[in-house]
């Protein structure tokens, strides 16, 4: 089983600031960490490899300093790390990022499974995982809270929902994005840290991954950030119980309160 884990270096959420002019995140002077959800993806990949054998490759798109999170992934058990880094990628939105990662994944070989964190804590879009699956033309499930079983051909997972979970089976290769409930990540081991220290992180440019320049960076990004704001909280929800007739009557009663 060859597994690719996509990880991102993000500013530590404890001190995130927005630039009031541009509505983008100010990264200056803020400590960088591995996106917390991605740690769970790395852990799950390592666990699957421990069970089935194979390899775990960590992939990140970012500036040269993102090598640090790839080394961290190796210290947590990944076999190797690859960075896609090029000035031409600057300004990429989630679609251009998905395209770039898909080109990098293709250039690295065939993967049976691609794992991503549910979302990155800086952009919070949760779009790159699904976007990557679309670019790769493979099936995906988001918000996976448990891998129930996995074989060379099939994977059976639980997708976290607001009120329970779905059980989804899909053929491999496939992509999953994972939530924190999926496991408890291990602490980087001493042997892992020593391996990470020595590890050479391969860096791929836009040319190396044969990226179409119209599809990367700002040029390949249909998204423009117009405004960044905190959305209002969702209203209270009520779940009715009883027979369908009782539930409808309760619903009607509630609705009448608003008339």
């Amino acid at each position: 089983m060859n597994i690719l884990v996509c990880i991102k270096q993000v500013p530590d959420t404890k001190d995130v600031r927005l630039d009031p002019e541009t509505n983008t995140m100010s990264r200056e002077g803020v400590e960088s960490i591995m996106n917390p959800f991605d740690r769970y993806a790395v852990e799950e990949a390592v666990r699957i490899r421990e069970e089935l054998g194979g390899t775990v490759t960590a992939l990140s798109m970012g500036p040269p300093q993102a090598v640090a999170v790839l080394k961290e992934a190796i210290s947590c058990g990944a076999d190797d790390g690859v960075l896609v880094s090029d000035r031409a990628f600057a300004g990429a939105d989630t679609w251009a990022t998905s395209y770039t990662l898909s080109q990098a994944a293709r250039s690295l070989g065939d993967f049976d499974l691609i794992l991503c964190g549910k979302q990155a804590i800086d952009g919070d879009t949760a779009q790159v995982g699904p976007g990557l699956a679309c670019q790769m033309e493979i099936p995906f499930v988001t918000c996976v809270q448990k891998v129930r079983s996995i074989t060379e051909e099939l994977i059976l997972v639980e997708r976290m929902m607001d009120d329970g979970f779905d059980v989804v089976q899909l053929p491999l290769p496939a992509l999953l994005t994972v939530v924190k409930d999926i496991n408890e990540p291990r602490v980087p081991s001493l042997k892992g840290k020593m391996k990470a220290k020595k590890a050479e992180i391969e860096t791929l440019s836009a040319a190396d991954i044969k990226a179409d320049e119209k599809c990367i960076g700002l040029a390949g990004s249909p998204t423009q950030v117009v405004n960044v704001f905190t959305p209002p909280p969702r209203g209270d929800r009520t779940v009715f119980s009883g027979t369908p007739e009782e539930q409808v009557s309760q619903l009607v009663k509630q609705l009448k309160n608003y008339l």
Partner: protein, 382 residues
């Protein structure tokens, strides 16, 4: 202060710190309340390779010494001295094999210790043999190709949880201190069982049990070193292990200091944070001095021991006394700084104060340590 750690030593510190922050601190209050052994945390430490730090490289470890153990234990005890004690006791339990065991014995036990697959424990203390180790009454008699052990060990840390036990037994009652030998007893050996688990004041997540040997038969080759060298190996073991206990005092003292300073900055009385009052500042300053001085003496002693000097007893005892007495004072003062809140279980400092007390008692009381220091001085000035 910068103690100029090597890159490898820095990695050990970071790994132990991650275990402390991510695995120990979130669970310490619950483990303390339930008197629960931290099995899953020790497994996390195994996965992080921490059990390998003091095992030679040829047996799958990192080949570190006393100083590396000290660095790991300091960070672990910042989280919980009970959990750190379980780790330290495993090191203590396997030291006799490291110090005096044959190559075959090392080959048999050390690889599993290095990976954390097996844990160890040290069985010296008995109901009539505490500070006076010569009071050991457990006996071992050779019967054909087997040793037959009889006796009961008391207050054995990791008892019932470990798979490998170093046991002190008398092989020749006529020879006094030279009549004691050390043996490896394994979990599951015939005639070997566990007695009651103690209900303790502090370090409640660590397991403290009786070990009962009733016609316990073990193969002849489980003798550690030569017959009659048991006490010599015990003394060497304790010389190397005491800085580990001392380091629990550093981590615990640091944790209590951290809690006290953070609280003193937040707590407002008479319209000001209490850290602005000199009475509180001076207490915090004295605590900080004791913690840093403890760190300095323990690191120095550990490095001295790792240089394999002819005599290490005095350094070992001095650092144990200083850092553990300091921890008792610092944790008590932390409770004082937090006042009524400090006395409540919602805040971690009351547990820290309870945990500190054992450090002055186990692995040789601080009074026995002063005896050792006094005797060494007497020899030095002869």
């Amino acid at each position: 202060m910068d103690y100029f750690l090597s890159e490898e030593q820095q990695m050990i510190v970071e790994t132990a710190r991650d275990i402390s922050n991510e695995k120990i601190i979130p669970r310490r209050a619950e483990l303390d309340e339930k008197n629960e052994f931290p099995t899953s945390i020790l497994e996390d430490m195994s996965k992080a390779d921490l059990f390998g730090i003091f095992v030679p490289e040829e047996y799958g470890g990192f080949g570190g010494g006393c100083f590396e153990i000290v660095l790991a234990l300091e960070e672990l005890s910042r989280g919980c001295v009970g959990v750190a004690t379980s780790f330290a006791a495993s090191a203590l339990g396997i030291f006799p094999v490291l110090i005096a065991g044959s190559d075959e014995m090392k080959e048999k036990y050390l690889p599993d210790i290095a990976t954390g697959k097996k844990w160890a424990a040290f069985g010296l203390t008995e109901s009539n043999a505490g500070s006076d180790a010569s009071g050991v009454q457990t006996t071992a008699v050779l019967d054909g190709d087997e040793w037959v052990l009889n006796g009961t060990k008391q207050w054995i840390t990791n008892g019932g949880e470990s798979q490998i036990y170093s046991i002190v037994a008398i092989t020749d009652p006529t020879k006094g201190a030279r009549g004691a030998s050390l043996f490896v007893v394994e979990d599951g050996d015939p005639g070997f069982s566990y007695g009651k688990k103690e209900d303790k004041m502090g370090i409640r997540s660590s397991a403290t049990r009786e070990l009962i040997m009733k016609d316990c038969r073990i193969p002849k080759d489980r003798l550690i070193g030569r017959k009659g060298t048991g006490f010599i190996t015990v003394m060497k073991t304790l010389d190397v292990s005491r800085p580990g206990i001392a380091s629990l005092g550093i981590g615990l003292g640091q944790a209590a200091l951290d809690e006290a300073v953070v609280y003193a900055k937040q707590r407002v009385q008479f319209g000001k944070p209490i850290i602005s009052f000199q009475a509180v500042q001076h207490m915090l300053a004295d605590m900080a001095i004791l913690v840093e001085a403890s760190r300095a003496i323990v690191y120095a002693a550990a490095r001295h021991i790792d240089s394999n000097p002819k005599n290490m007893s005095k350094a070992s005892s001095m650092c144990k006394v200083f850092a553990t007495d300091a921890a008792m004072k610092v944790t008590t003062d932390a409770v004082q700084v937090l006042g009524g809140y400090g006395y409540m279980k919602e805040y971690p400092v009351e547990k820290m104060m309870r945990d500190a007390k054992i450090l002055q008692i186990y692995e040789g009381t601080n009074q026995i340590q002063r005896n050792v220091i006094g005797q060494e001085l007497n020899k030095e000035y002869a």
